[in-house]
Structure formats: C-alpha cells, structure tokens
C-alpha cells in the first residue's frame, strides 16, 4: 500500500468535506468515524506505515499525524457549530406566555393598627422601654381614682365610660397600666403600654373602641425637657426629620404640668396626644415617694397614625373587618 503524499492530501480533503457536509451531530459522528475512527481511512493509512522503508517511516508518520490533527480540528469546529445551532433551535422552541400571572403564594395582611403599634413599640424598644399590659376590664381605682380622676368628674359619667354590671369599667385609656406597673415596685421605670381602649362614643369619626399607646419614665431626674426630647425623637422616627411638634398647656388630673401636643401637618397642626409630668399624687397612690421620684407620662391614639400611614380616611373603614380595605395594607 502506498502512502504517497498525493493520496494523503486527497484523503484529507475528502474527510474535511465530508465533515463540513455533516448536517447533524449524528452525521458528524459517522463522518468522523469514517475517517478518524479506529477502522477509519486515516487509521488504515497509519497502519500501513510499518510497511514502508524504515527511513521513510518517520516522515510519513509525521505527515499523517498532522493531517489527522487538522481533520480533527475541523470536526470539533463543526461539532461546536452544530451544537450551537441545536441549542438555538431548542431555545426557540421553548416559548411560554410569560404574560400569564405568577402562581403567587397566598398573601395575608396585618391590621394597620398592628403595623403602627409594632413600629411605635420598636422605637421605644430601642430606647430601652419595656412593655407592660393590663386588663381591658379595669377597676375604677386603676382607671380613675388612682389617676386622681374625681368621682364626679364628667369622664366617669355613663355618657363617656362603659360600666360593667356589678362595678368595674372598660378601660377608657391605657393609663391604668401606669398604676399597675408602678404599684408595689420601685423606680426607675421605663415602660410603654399599647392597647385597646373604650369610650361611649360612636359618630362619623369616632369608634367606641380604639387604640392608644402610653409611655412613661419615672426616676430621680427625668424632666419635662426630657419628655419633649423623647416625643420629638419619636415623631421624627415616625414622620421624618422635618416634622415639628407643638406643646400646648392643658389639664389632666394625673399630670402636672400637663400638655397636649400636636404635630405639623400640611401647614397646620394636628392634635396627637396628651402628656405631662406625673402628678405627685399619682406616684403616692402607687406607693412611690414623690419627693424623691419624678417622671413623665404620655399617651396618644394609634388609630389616626395608622390611618395616616395607610391613607385611610375614616376610622370605621378599618375597624369593621372589611377585607377590601384591609387587603390594601399590611
């Protein structure tokens, strides 16, 4: 068998053409096998080298190997091209209607008041306030007397307060929690008390139940200025750095001095809550030495803050269990 240069060139060209013609990976594999495989034409030539004169073997072998390498290179290039084409074809085939809706997991919602309560509580948590709770049905002592609300004070009227048969009331504010938290303990105190409260009131803007948050500090030196500082920091946390507060003198039986405070809103003021230095009589009612200890307390509604955060225009919209409203928030 001859291994003439001409024959090798012919074979190489033939192999390259066959490989280039392969239109599928399968055809490519067959063509490769035909020329490069163990039983392929190039292998056959290689096997024939042994029959050559010893001095010609090296040169013939080298030529043969170079030709085989070139054919392999062409084959692998062809293979890459075919694979690319196949992958493009299959990409083109897999098209779904991406505009169909996603399979959303069910989405629940927390109540707006829950959200605002958490946000408020988180702020005070950061300042080291603990949380206290009290019952919603309260004794008149805790809800009124201990807070120096006199027996004939109008707020103790059945027009304002829900009374329970046989005594006790639905708490009208969160302040009784102050009494519970302080009685029998020794300052320093740093507490908040969020919760549900009740008043005999039902109108376009008032609900007979609503939510308040109460906060207070009692120690040996906390001042009215400290109260302003805490409420300012709180307001900025909730409403941003530009909010302003206004403290107006007011009267509460359980604080002295007392104030109501407003926050700036649309060029005016909106009433926010009440605050003041805890009246020494209240401290004494809890068994705390009012000559040694002093402190402030504040309370505010949470409902309006919740409404403001969510843009809900009327309190009844969120206290009626209307899912069309509640699924928009939280």
């Amino acid at each position: 068998m001859s291994t003439g240069t001409g024959q090798l060139e012919l074979l190489e060209r033939e192999a390259c053409e066959a490989i280039a013609r392969a239109s599928s990976l399968q055809a490519l594999r067959e063509a490769s096998a035909r020329y490069l495989g163990r039983k392929g034409a190039l292998s056959a030539l290689l096997r024939g080298i042994g029959e050559l004169a010893p001095d010609a073997r090296a040169a013939a072998g080298e030529a043969l190997n170079r030709a085989a390498a070139r054919v392999e290179a062409v084959a692998s290039e062809r293979q890459a091209a075919l694979e690319r084409a196949q992958s493009e074809r299959s990409l083109a085939e897999h098209v779904l209607d991406a505009s169909l809706p996603g399979a959303a997991p069910p989405r629940g919602h927390l109540h707006p008041v829950t959200l605002i309560e958490r946000e408020m509580a988180e702020f005070f948590h950061g300042l080291g306030f603990s949380v206290e709770e009290g019952p919603e049905v309260e004794s008149e002592w805790n809800n009124f007397d201990a807070l120096r609300i006199a027996a004939d004070h109008p707020s103790r009227d059945s027009h304002d307060t829900f009374f329970v048969e046989g005594g006790n009331v639905l708490r009208t504010h969160t302040s009784p929690v102050q009494i519970r938290a302080m009685t029998g303990r020794t300052p320093p105190f740093r507490f908040i008390a969020p919760g549900r409260v009740f008043r005999v009131d039902h109108s376009a803007t008032k609900s007979p139940f609503f939510h308040q948050i109460e906060g207070f500090i009692v120690d040996e030196h906390t001042s009215f200025g400290d109260m302003k500082g805490v409420l300012y920091a709180f307001a900025r946390h909730l409403m941003g750095p530009d909010v302003r507060l206004r403290f107006r003198a007011h009267f509460f039986p359980f604080t002295e001095p007392s104030a109501e405070f407003d926050f700036s809103w649309n060029g005016g003021w909106l009433e926010w809550g009440g605050c003041g230095m805890i009246h020494p009589g209240v401290l004494e009612n809890c068994g705390i030495d009012s000559r040694r200890f002093q402190g402030f307390a504040f309370g505010m509604g949470m409902d309006r803050s919740a409404m403001q955060h969510c843009g809900i225009p009327n309190i009844h919209l969120m206290l009626d269990g209307d899912v069309r409203v509640l699924e928009q928030v939280g």
């Binding site: 399979a103 629940g108 948590h125 306030f129 059945s158 829900f162 009374f163 048969e165 639905l170 939280g330």
Partner: protein
Amino acid sequence: MRVPLGWLATWIDLPVRAELEERLTLAGLEIEEVLRTGPDLSAIRVGHVLERKQHPNADRLSVCSVDLGEAAPATIVCGASNVAAGQKVAVAVPGVTLPDGTKLKKSKIRGEVSEGMICSARELGLGDDPSGILVLDPGANIGAPLSEVLQAGETILDVEITPNRGDWVSMLGMAREVRALFGGTLRMPPSEPVEGTRAASEDVRIAIDDPDGCHLYVGRVVRGVQIGPSPAWLAARLEAAGMRAINVVVDVTNLVLLEYGQPLHAFDLASLRGAEVRVRRAHSGEKLATLDGETRDLAPDDLVIADAERAVAIAGVMGGAETEVRATTRDVLIESAQFAPTRVRRTSKRLGLRSEASYRFERGVDPDGVARAADRAARLLAELAGGTVSRGRVEVRGVAAPRSGEIVLDPSHPNRLLGTKLTTEEIVSLLARVGVQARLDVDNRLRCTVPSWRNDLSIAEDLIEEIARIHGYDAIEPTMPRAALAPVSRPASLALVERTRDQLKAAGLIEIRLMPTLQPADLDALRLPTDDALRRGVRLANPMPGMGPLLCTSLLPGLLRAARRNLSRQVDSVRIFEVGRTFLARGPGELPEEPLRAAALVTRGERASLWEPGSPIPAFFEAKGIAESLLAELGQRAVFQAGSSAPWLHPGASGELRSVDTVLCRLGELHPEVASAFEISAACALLEVDLQALLDRPGEPSRYREVSSYPAVRRDLAVLLASSQPAGEVLDAIRKTAGNMLVSAAIFDRYEGKGIPAGKVSIAFRLVFQRPDRTLLDAEVAKTTERVVDMLGQRFGGELR
C-alpha cells in the same frame, strides 16, 4: 366660651389677633372656632375716586373714574350726591355679592358703562344711613379688602376652657390671661353703686341654714326699676357672647356673669314671701317650677333658695318661675353667692339641668369677687332701669371654702421638674404675672400667695405648671433622658400574640379588629348549651344602641358577622383572623378572666387562579392546615383528633388539636344551623386557638436532627381501602410498622370512582427510607415494605392496586 374680642379690648389692650390666638392656644385656651358677627366685607375693595363727571344723560348721576389699584381705573356710575374726587370709597366690582345678597353685574346705566358700584353704609349692611355713599378714612390703602379697613361687627373666639380653670370663664379671666401673657393694665368696669338712704337690711332678711352648701351669700336690693328692653349695646354684647337679651334686669345679671364669671340671680322682691331668703336643703318631696317651664322634683341633697314658705330657686342652677322678674316687677333682689361646687354639680347632674350659672359654680367662683358682682349689677340697674339702690349689702357667710393659702416652693424645684435654668428672680416674676406673690424666705424657699380666683393652685407642681405655661412650653429645650442601661422586657403574652399574627398572615389571612361585644342571641346562635362556660358573659351596664351588651366570650360571633358583611359585599373568598381577649365573668365585682384567643375563618370561593388545582381545597382542610402549621410554628406538638364537642362545628367535619389532655385548637366546618343563624351561605370553616393555654406550655424550640449523607429510597404504595376507613389511622399504623428506617410517610393521592370498586377508595402513600450511617440495601427496604403491606392487609383489609 365665646370671647368677643372687641369687648375684651375694652378690658385690656390686645396684641394683633394671630399672636393673641397663638399664645392663648399654647397657654391652654384651645380656640375651637373663630366666629364673626356683622357683614363679610372681604370682597369689597377700597377705591380712590380720581375724577367725577356729570352723567351726560341723567342729572342726578355722575360718572366716576375710580382707582382700585389695578392697571387702569374703573368707570363707575354713581347716584349719590356726596361722591367727590379725592375720596376713598367702598367699591363692589362685578361678580361680588353684597351683604344683602345682590350679585353685581357689569351694566350700562343710561347709556354709560358702569364697572362696579360705590357702596353706601346701608348697602354694606353697616347701618341704616341711606343718605349717600360711605366715605372711608383717607389713609385707607387703595385696592385693600374693606374688612381690613373697617371694623364691622365682632370677631369672637370660641375657646375651650379646661375644667380646672373656673376663673377663665369670664371677660375678667380672659383679660387677666392676656395680661399674664402680654403684659398691660386691666381696665375694670366701675362697680360702686350710688346708694339711696333706705338700708337693704330693711328690705330683705337672708339666712344660711346649710353652711356647708353655701360659703357666702350677698344680696343687693334695687327698688323702683322700670322693666323694659336693654339698650342696644348691652343686647349686642350678650348676643356676641351667645346669650339672648330678655329684659334689662335679666340682661344685667347675665352681663355681669359674663364680665366677672360670677353668676347672679334676680328675684322679684315682692313675690318673696316674708321678704326672706333662706339657703337650705330641699325638703323631701319638695317641687319647684323652674324658669324653663319644667317642674322639678327636689331631693334632700339639693341646695335651694327659699323664702319663708317654699323653695324659690335651685341654688347655682336655675331660678324659679314664681319669683322671676316680670313686667310688673318694681323691686329686685340681686343674689350673688358662692355655692359648694360639688353640691351644684350633683344637683345639676341629677336633674340633667346645666346652665351658665351651674357651669361656673361647678368650677368655683372667686370668693373675693362675689360682693363686687352684686355691686356692679346694682349700679347698672340704677343706670339702665332707673332704680334706687338700697344702702349696703346683705351679706351672710357659711363655712368658708378652703383656700390654697400659701404654697412653699423650692426655687430649684421648677428647674428640676422642667429641665430649665430659670433664676429665682425669673421664677418670682413669672409667678407674679399670674397674680401669685412669691417671697424668698430666709430658708431660701419661696412663700407663694395664691390669688383668690385661683382655686386650682394648691401644690408646688401647680405653680411649676404656671411657671412653665407663662415661660412658654416651647421655650423648654428638648433633651434626652439620662438613664442606666437596663434589660428590656415584654410580656410573654404579647410575644405569643405577635408570632400568632405573623403566622396567620403568612398563611394568607387578613387580620381584623372588632368591638369585642356580642348579643346574648349570638350565644344561642352558636348552639351553646345553657350551662356552657361561654355563657359566663360579662354584661355592660350601659351598652350603646345597636351594640351587644355582653363582652365577647368567644371571638367567633364577631368573626362570623364580619364574614357575612364581606360576603354580602361580594368578596368571593373570605380569609380573616382576629387575635384578642375574650371575657369570662368571675365573682360579682371581680375583674373577669380575659383569656387570649386567636380565631380564623376561611370560606371557599370558586377556583380563583389559573394555577390552583382544578378542584379547590376544601375549607375544612385549609383550616386544619392553618391550625397545624400555626401550632408547629409555636413549637407545639399537637395531635389531631377527628370530631369535636364544640356545638357550633359540623359533627362530621370537625376536629381538635390536642396536647396531652389540653385542647389547643378546635376547628371544622360550621354547623349548618349556625351558618344559617349567621346567614352565611358560603362553604366555610373556622378554627379557634386557645392562646391562653399555650401561655402555660411554652413551645419546644426547634432542634437539629442529623442530615444523612446516604441516599434515600422512596416507595409509593397505592392501597385500596374501605371508603369509611380514616386514612390518617392507616398512616399512623404505617409509621409504627415501618420502623426507624422510615424518615417520612405521607398521603399524596386519594382517588375513588372509575376503576375502583364501590365502597372503596384508593389512597396513595409515599414512604421514604433512609439511614444516617449507611446506604440501605434493596433487600431490607423490600422486607420492610412487605411488612407494611402485610399489616395493611391484615389490619385494614387493604390491598395494593
């Protein structure tokens, strides 16, 4: 209280209104509303008559060129004879509505265009003078609104008075507050009457039989008055303050009440039998016809004014009809007194009768102003009704009301409480502004004398509030408290509530908050037996109309009603929950138990999404899944048991999750009777979790279990079982039989129908085997599976499909 500012300005010089309002508000006088009397002149503008020409077609008209502060002057035809060039006048331009309601239009008058109207005082609602146009002050700014130039009518501040400040409820009190805030001098109206020679003590005898109820009673007699209408200025003042003018005597007493805050009463002296006044308790069964035409039943606690025979007035509340001043009255007894606030409050409340007088007596009057008010009224009556004031007052005293006297104030106390750095001098001067005289004693304490009208000041903190108020709350620097670090705590119940809310939200439910009350009928609607614990409701003594009188013993009625409201609003699928307290009565007078509960309700709507399984998940299984995952989240190992004793649940579609012997959750479909009682037609399931019970059994924290690195082997077994066989029992049996190689077993399919014999159901179980220490051998999995299949056959008659 209504404060007419023009009137107040006669007492003290006022700052500009915005500043006045601002400072009063900050000082605790909340301004609820600013009212105006008189016409609104803000749309009328000041014009300058540049030129006046005779109207070409009418002798009596002139054509004026008027500068209104705009680019070109307006041409206005005017019929008044007094109009002249150089005048400042009031001009209404087209589009403006005059106080009498006419709306101006651009017009032609006798062929001349008129671009407005020069107004007369009458056209502006400023009086009856029709004689010509209103000529304004030459200094008025051209183009300015007329309301800035003319003081027409009154501006009235409607001020909310806090209940501690009885002294504020008068012009005098407001003037004092203005003085405290802005400085200035009070101008007190004259009060000394010109007296006749006859002594008042000859006209009337006064006695106090109840000295605790009446601290002080002063009588003044004016004889020979002429009853008639009050002069216009007096009527206007009363009207501005929100009162009606009646006759000169009554009006004078009301005027003095408004001036000093001291309520007065005028009796027709001739109708007082025995010419005698006694302040005493009412006799039992005593009645009195009051001025308002009602007959009042009096109680022995009521303080009355009586003559020799009968009650003639309810002290501090309202006078009687029989002794009231009438057209024929000639002689008048003026009563000025200080009654005990609590007595007035009790009587006024008991009778449901509130008056200007009771409002002020309840808050307390100035004991030092009682006589002055009587004097002032006597003087005015003599001036305005032509009477003669009898000589002297008839004054009787009961037990004096407690006075604050002297308060000792450590000068460092205000700074400590307020966080300020006020000097002692500043403190003294701030106190002086509210009439408190403070004197620094040798012990370096301030001895503070409280004025007679400040019955609200009794302890150092009261004075500190005054110091802060006058200094200005806004002038107190905000600071942050200094405190030692201390651990922060929160109640376990709150943590539990918050985790519950989060988990129920994660399950796709919406949180609601409702008034926790219900109707007794709601408990019947839940099918509760008469002795059920949930019947131990706490009853409200004064529920509002339409509100249930019981505090809720269960969250379910509220939840069911909310569901019905939502369904009626065409919400297709309702998924709601509430976390809150319920209320169970204990002994009488005791605070109730307030067990914490969480309850959720899901209804099954139609298939709502493309990706949902073809048939919707039954509501029951959704509720069960929510309950199980909630309890798992809370670290509770609860065992499900089919069936429940809860009467509101469907007996065939209910269950309980229990931990040992405690029921943690009851769930199921609604009993059809309950559904119909609450008018819920949609398929619906609910669950109620006893959070209170969970508080006593803290959940187990999640613990790591070793993850095997060896392959798991899965075996699916489809088993034919009797339809009546609860599959959960079978699953439990599989778990027990399969041994510890089994890492999970689950039901993944259930099929009945074509290809399955009647009365049978095919349940597919998926068993996963794995060992932590080695690869499983096929043979041992096969052996275990065989044991399971044998067991299924023997115990349940199950056969592999």
